[in-house]
Subunit: 210 residues, 2 copies
Amino acid sequence: MEQEYASTLLENAVNQLSRLPGIGRKTALRLALHILRQEERMGVDLGESIVALRKGIRYCVKCHNISEDEKCPICSNPLRDASTVCVVESVKDVLSIENTGQFRGLYHVLGGLISPMDGIGPSQLEIDSLVKRVEDEKVDEVILALSATMEGETTNFYIYRKLGTLPVKITQLARGVSVGNEIEYTDEITLGRSIVNRTLFSESFNKDVQ
Amino acid sequence: MEQEYASTLLENAVNQLSRLPGIGRKTALRLALHILRQEERMGVDLGESIVALRKGIRYCVKCHNISEDEKCPICSNPLRDASTVCVVESVKDVLSIENTGQFRGLYHVLGGLISPMDGIGPSQLEIDSLVKRVEDEKVDEVILALSATMEGETTNFYIYRKLGTLPVKITQLARGVSVGNEIEYTDEITLGRSIVNRTLFSESFNKDVQ
């Protein structure tokens, strides 16, 4: 149903907002009317911040994380440990891992996972550039921090094979019972892995204290 | 928890987006990263449409609907019936009624409902301007199209009293069983009203055909 708006400005804003994921035309209209009810500065700031975001952001030439300069702040930081590279699927995963405060190395953003179902092959991902990085730079360890899904495991294995001949340690995130989860509702594969890879109880104290 | 972003541009966009109703910081980040993944034109169009919306929209001097000019397109349209004024709570209600295609008169947007609980009194609403409009212009009928809630009924009654001495017909939206609703789940007050105000079955054909 084509909805008729009183104003082409409103119609245009609703059209644009409803192109965002999870925002339908009804929500878009509600957001647009909310913006109109606020003072002018707020709506203008919102709009301008989106334009500035889209125009100002590019990708780090080294790790493919978002950046405002040629290299992102993480790759440019001399205090980070350049010998450890954490391989992640997306920019969002970089933020998640940074927020844990547990990692001081660098990242490599693949831009996706290998998924034949979705037609995504290794060549569409930043895998060759990862291999080149390991070849050219002094990388001691590559941490595979991809999702514990079929796509993630496939990509892990592909990268493992690609890096196989290089003198680098390849690790992956520990699999185990999620903190806060009940054993009763943990799937058997996870439970099995967490028994095999059990850790010293005394170590858990040190790990939690930062 | 203060989240650290790789870029102040991203941080700023997330801050602005998360000020929208129903959008938390997680959703704001998801939207910002989505905008970054799309081609540049899309993000710029979105941002610019919001700025244009907020800068370009004002309120119709006559009916207080949103407008790009002094008078809104509905008030300016000579084909609309200026003798019938439909009183609504908000701009959104104007859109809803316009979408039914059943009303050819003009509107009057109150900007809210009388609600002592929320500290909203008649003076904060466009009620005086409604009375003045009925006094000064040739208005034959005022349709009260407010919500069937306590605030709506209170506001209906207040307007009814205010207009009481003027030679104008005051009507309100029919109360009845919502189309598509089952009798079993219709509340007794609505059911009672819909029996008292029952309509000729044959009339329902004509009303549905447009």
